[in-house]
């Protein structure tokens, strides 16, 4: 178990944003986190990446209590937002060097990691290209690369495929799986529920500040049938909350993406 939330609460003044958050993230999995807007997703992600502290509860990372140890969480998590969070005037490598040093990595280490990730994400050719001169898709990959430059154990991807064409989305997911294969646990948020279902080993549903369901896509289908689109399943869970389906976590293993009919990832 990589990350465990126990009775975590988050308040802003009198407003309770998150209440009784209890779930865990298994090492090596791709965990999908979905929920409606205003449901507390962003707040939960901020807590996970160390931007914000929880008001109550315990967050265990690799068995260590990270309450009031935000630095520990930050050092071990990477975050890639929907938009580009790199410096447009610098190249991918320069961005990697800069952010890697912020995580106190040495230049040689950063270079080695960069070469590996660049190869993985197909960015070797663009090493010294300024971000502003890259295409949108390439910028997204560059964003991913920099998010991983400090070898985080956990990578959080917020809407990684938003605004991309279907082909590019597929490519991005392929890279995500490659990264996962390389040993990084991934949490993904997205409004594209079909992609989540197709690519995640488990899916957690957050509604009104509570985790209302966590299960593998298979288990969701078992309960709700295979004919419905996952979005309908999601709606039915959210609108009519039932007893949360929380199955015992399976042993840690990488889940292979389901192959589409044409064989692409």
């Amino acid at each position: 178990m990589l990350l465990e939330f126990k009775n975590v609460k988050k308040k802003y003044g009198k407003n309770v944003i998150l209440s009784d958050i209890n779930f865990n993230i298994l090492s090596g999995e791709i965990f999908g986190l979905i929920g409606e807007s205003g449901g507390g997703k962003s707040t939960l992600l901020k807590i996970i990446i160390g931007m914000s502290e929880s008001s109550q509860g315990t967050i265990m990372f690799e068995g260590k209590n990270t309450r009031r140890k935000i630095g520990y969480l930050r050092n071990n998590t990477g975050f890639a937002t929907q938009g580009n969070t790199l410096f447009m005037e610098m190249s991918i490598f320069e961005n990697s060097l800069y952010f890697g040093r912020l995580y106190k990595k040495k230049k040689a280490e950063i270079k080695e990691r960069f070469d590996m990730l660049a190869k993985l994400l197909g960015l070797s050719y663009y090493k010294n290209t300024l971000i502003r001169n890259l295409s949108g898709g390439t910028q997204k990959r560059a964003n991913l690369l920099v998010s991983l430059i400090h070898s985080p154990k956990l990578l959080i991807l917020d809407e990684p495929t938003a605004g991309l064409d279907p082909l590019l989305r597929k490519n991005i997911w392929a890279y995500i799986h490659e990264i996962n294969k390389a040993g990084t646990t991934i949490i993904v948020t997205s409004h594209l529920l079909d992609e989540i279902e197709a690519n995640c080993s488990r899916i957690g549903i957050l509604d009104k500040g509570k985790i209302v369901a966590i299960a593998s896509p298979k288990n969701y289908r078992k309960k709700y049938g295979t004919k419905k689109a996952f979005s309908e399943i999601f709606k039915s869970i959210v609108i009519k909350p039932e007893k949360p389906i929380v199955k015992k976590p399976e042993k840690s293993k990488l889940t292979k993406p389901e192959k589409s009919k044409d064989g692409s990832a």
Partner: protein, 561 residues
Amino acid sequence: MAVLNVFKKNLKTVSRNWNYFVVLIVCPIALILIAGTLLSSSSASNLRVGVINEDPEYNFDFSEFKKIKNYHSLSSCINDLVEETTNICFHIQKDNGVRQIDIMIDNSKESIEVYMKKYILEKVSEEQAVFIEETAKDLDAKMTLFSTSIDTAKKELDQVYVELEEQEEMLSLYHTNVTNTIRTVEDIEAQLNYLKYQYDTAAQSSEAILLKQEIESIKSRNEEILDRVAVISSIINNDTDSTYDNQLNYQIDQINNEFVDINNDLETISGLSVQGAANKAEVELDNLINQMMSMKAALYKLESDLVTSISRTRAAKSRVKTFLTQLDEARSEMDEMSDKFGKGRVYVNFKNPFTFSTDPVLYTYPMLIAMIIAFTSIVLSNTFILRQVHRSSHLREIISPAKDISFLVADYVTNIFLASVQIVALFLIGLYWIKVPFPVSSLLVLLSIFLVTSIFIFIGMTLGYLIKTQSLSMLLSIFATLLIIVFSDILAPTFMTGPIIGFFVRLNPLVIIQNILFNTIVLGRQLNFFMASIDKLVVFFIFGFIITYIAKKVSKENVVN
């Protein structure tokens, strides 16, 4: 290490953004060059002067002004004043011998008014001071001359007074002697009358013998008179200067001669026979008596003249005394006046205690530097922070484990570096254009510039962190700059403001740095610690850093929320 890393990143992002580079570097330098050009062409000699001179004998020195226009009437000059084709009208006129200069200055422009009043006052004061000095010297010389003349006259009059006293004394002696002589002559006359009587009635023989005895007595008395007259004569003869004495001498001589004749007649009478002599003696006695009477009359006249002379001498003495007293008073008044004049003289000289170039560019150079430092430091640091905070990459920096203070210090160092580039550019322009030496010799000057620049940077950074809206933040930073400029001694000199306002104005970093630069660059002074107000600047620096750090934390919270 994190600070260095962030600093390098900042330099890269700035240097690779041409727009930003132009705003940061090129614009301030252009501003400095334009300001320098403007100032170097600015001179009070460019003011347009209108002259209406109704007193051709008088020439006011307008040589300092390049544009002078002569008008026939005041109204035409004032018309041009309204239309701003003339800045000042000089109306020179003479009224009842008194020269008057009316000066109409365009007082809607305070700088012209202040400058012209200063210029005219200096010019007129110079002229008046020269005139007063020359007049004072003349008066001084004349009064010295008068004093000397009075002293000489007083001396002479003192001498005259002494002589008059001596003369009075002498005349009194004359008078006494003459009076005594008159008594004696009266006695002789009486004796002669008695002798005649005796001669007429007395017996020949015994009376002849008596007559002879009487004659001998008269002769003897005559001798006494002669002796006295001789004494009077010798006294008169000692004083040879007096013309009046010459008359007295003449009178005395006449009297002397009469007495000699009397003596001779008495001898004749004495030598004659009794009978024949008796008849002759009677005749001679009669003659003698007549002579005595005329002598007595002469002596009376002499006595009367002497009394008159003594009286006149006394009157003359009194007048001399009065005149001497008046001379003393006059001398005393002159001394008093001379003393008063010497003490009461007023010299007005405009002197410059400090020597420095009057080049307007050099004079305003410190103020220019201070204003540019203030403006660029506040506005550009604000712009820099706004760019940082509103970048999408800022989120990635926030979630990194690097501490906030590392980012703060790095951003501050970046801003200091960029400001330093401009300051160096400023001083290089000053060095090669205005020939102003770079004040590297003074560590305190460099430290002061560093501290003041830092304080302004902190202000800009704080506004950049705290104000979420970019446009509002920029506006506030410009407003802050204007406030700092207005609340300085640019509009009103510090030494003329009230104590409370003056206290706060003197705390203004802009005022501090301007004073420091003016003292070192223009006046060429060396600074000491307190003169440079380093202590205040250090306090502001620390305070500014703390405020900026708090602002950074607030900014991060805003981003996180």
